[in-house]
Amino acid sequence: MKIGVKILPKNEVLDTQGRTVENTLRAHQREVNQCRVGKYVQLDINESDETKALARAKEIAEFVLYNPLIETYELEVVKR
């Protein structure tokens, strides 16, 4: 089962990438309130049970994929 891990910089942390993209959008008349740039990690886990696969992904995410000091993460089941 494929589990996606969406990682975003915390709101309190200045997101330099997001800020740069935001500035470029503004320069091209595509202003947004805010733009934040994170990472997406897809894990193919050898597990057919969704609950178990999510638990495994959670353990992996907290082991190394995200840094709780500066980032938040969310899991999603990839349906394709």
């Binding site: 330099t16 800020r19 082991f63 000091l69 500066i70």
Partner: protein
């Protein structure tokens, strides 16, 4: 018996030879500690985690190196009170390993900063006795992700314990309170973004790095 300094090497470490030569220039012996190695703490007097781009800075700077086998031995050495110094990417690795507080994120300017900077010693590190509080140093920095970040409550705890080791005189990268180097609570593990090994002789442009490394290795 000569004092031996363990120098950690990961895939992508690139300041290792400079650190080795600096250690030798101070009359000490150096030994490589490969990322797959485990070691006996008793065979060493101090440890340095040099700078570079371990694992190509993939995922987050230092995140993957922090999980390498050699780090479990280093963790043990840190717990036993051995002096440990992380320089630049080495500093990032030590924060990712949880041996030092905070995190290092992209510079506020979004630019890679490569220049000489003035630093001020804020608090004494346990072993860095040659550096006195209030003393200023001139050392080179070279980093894209050197902005020290820590949450307010942790920052307060760091101040209470005197863990802010050195600060930039001019805040070059947007670090919280211009912090350039920190230590752990017991003051034996220290990390700094500037490169002392690049300031060992006057022909390098300055020799303030000597006092940093000298005190670590004495």
């Amino acid at each position: 018996m000569k004092k031996t300094v363990g120098i950690l090497r990961f895939l992508g470490t690139n300041c290792d030879r400079d650190v080795w030569q600096s250690v030798e220039a101070l009359g000490l012996e150096a030994q490589w500690l490969w990322f797959e190695d485990q070691f006996r703490c008793e065979d060493f007097t101090a440890f340095i985690v040099p700078g570079g781009f371990s694992y190509g800075d993939y995922l987050r700077c230092g995140a993957l190196a922090a999980k390498a086998p050699v780090m479990s031995s280093l963790r043990e050495a840190a717990a036993k009170g051995y002096p440990v110094l992380g320089i630049c990417n080495g500093f990032q690795i030590l924060t990712e390993a949880g041996l030092l507080p905070g995190a290092l994120v992209r510079n506020e300017s979004r630019k890679f900063i490569d220049k000489w900077v003035e630093l001020k010693i804020a608090n004494l590190a346990g072993w860095a006795t040659a550096l006195r509080s209030g003393e200023t140093l001139r050392l080179p920095v070279a980093h894209g992700e050197g902005r020290f970040y820590v949450e307010d409550d942790e920052l307060k705890r760091m101040h209470d314990q005197g863990q802010v080791w050195m600060t930039y005189v001019e805040n070059i990268n947007g670090s919280v309170e211009a912090i350039a180097g920190v230590s752990n609570r017991s003051k034996n593990v220290c990390g700094m973004m500037p490169h002392p090994e690049r300031a060992m002789f006057s022909w390098m442009g300055g020799e303030d790095g000597r006092s940093v490394l000298n005190s670590l290795l004495r």
